[in-house]
Amino acid sequence: MGKIELVGVEKAFGNVHVIRNVHLQVEDGEFVVFVGPSGCGKSTLLRLIAGLEDTTGGKILIDGTDVSDTPPAKRGLSMVFQSYALYPHMSVRSNIGFGLRMAGMPKEERNRKVEAAAQVLNLTPYLDRRPGQLSGGQRQRVAIGRAIVREPKAFLFDEPLSNLDAALRVNMRLEIARLQDTLGTTAIYVTHDQIEAMTLADKIVVLSAGQIEQVGSPLELYDHPANLFVAGFIGSPKMNFVTGQAAAARGAATIGVRPEHIAGSRTDGEWAGTVTVAEHVGSDTFLYVAVPGIGDITMRAVGEFALKPGESVYLTPDPDRIHRFDAEGQAMLAAR
């Protein structure tokens, strides 16, 4: 079991409130991703759950028990750090087995468990090496091995992939997804990368300035962002926001439309503009268009759309895919 509940969790460093009144439920076996810009408090929230920081208010429950004052090791969670945080003077075997050793497990049993974990992570040939002799991806796998071998109630991942290069990151992302699926262990994963969030999560928690902006499945957040912040944060390239006349015409203070929900044409359409930059990446074409009276709009066309900077283009947003926000930036329900 690994059900985690946050009830009104607060954290302040002196007068600085980094986490404000956070309520959240993480179900057993769920993969939850905390996402948000840097400094939004997502890592702090994870460290509060881990017990590496003390809360200044509220309660943290694991399987119904209040663990707010329980030391990290007694919470039954394991953590994978951004920097891997391996013990440099120990072999891979001792690194993975350190937690079991601290728990007083006999050596044979410990070895058996370490070897089983190494098998799962393809680390068997490296068991007697030191972390310094491994590549970045292998080190990351050792860190994950150290987390799974203790059979925790939940895994906590603190931006585990940000030190890896792009290709390796995609591979490790798949590995983590597969591993969590096989083990069925609850996972909380912190990242600032919304692609990682979208691909890994059962449930995404978007944080900003120490508060939860929205909780939902990846597609819920994509299709129904609760406010301007979430709308702008989820999706790449970013959603276009238009204020003024065009928004007022739709009864909103701001309207938002994603680049992929704008149709482009050389001949006619709702907004006439001029291409400023055109990015042709083969599978897609990204056009950055200056539209008088509207602003700069990004549009994405599938495949090749042969337009050059300086040429004029007509854009038509998909009326069913327009998001409307009120003056406070909150999403307005019901289209038009």
Binding site: L52, S78, M79, Q82, Y87, P88, F98, G99, R146
Partner: protein, 276 residues
Amino acid sequence: MARRISTTHRVTATAAGWLVGFLIFFPILWMVLTSFKTELDAFSTPPQFLFFHWTTENYAIVQERSNYLHHAMNSIILAFGSTAVALVVAIPAAWSMAFAPTKRTRDTLLWMLSTKMMPPVGVLVPIYLLFRDGGLLDTHIGLIMVEFLANLPIVVWMLYTYFKEIPKDILEAARMDGATIGKELIFVLAPMAVPGIASTVLLNVILAWNEAFWTLNLTTVDAAPLTTFIASYSSPEGLFWAKLSAASTLAIAPILVLGWFSQKQLVRGLTFGAVK
């Protein structure tokens, strides 16, 4: 791309390097040479560099007049004793300042260092009186206490710097793995800090070995280390250069050998953190 260095540049730099090295080494060389001269040659003008009457009589006389081994033993007891006591106090202190700092940690560190700026002679009289009344004059315990306290700020500072270099994440990982503070110190922090602790020990042994002010003022015979042994040759009857040199050579020999064998550790210790 590597920077190109011309041959002339390399030759000049090498020559300059050797010159500076020789200048630094020369006093020691001169002392060793003098220790093999007769008292008369030691005073001669112009000084004789290599072509004099080589003799080992000074060493014989020094051995006869005083008990070298007794003083050497005292030096070892004082140097290693004071360093050991300093470590026992400084490791926990540096640990808490490096990993659980408070608002005042910086001030505390600076304050500790500032005590090294005060001239020791300023507190000689009170300390002397304390020693006299406490029966600590010329005892190992008393001298170990003074040397330990004199070097404590440096030991804490050095260990603090080494501990700061250890990533906090690793200690947090150990905490997640269920290590108590004690186990964290023994299994994770200490092994990672061994190079740092080693060079701290080394530097402090050397400092304590050469410490002369307190040892000269607070000891006479029983606890007198090699510094007192050297000083005894600069007596009111006159300065016996050759014998003084012989005594000094004997006094620095052990520490020189220790330093030679551990120079790698020392250099690493002194430049630790400068290069990643």
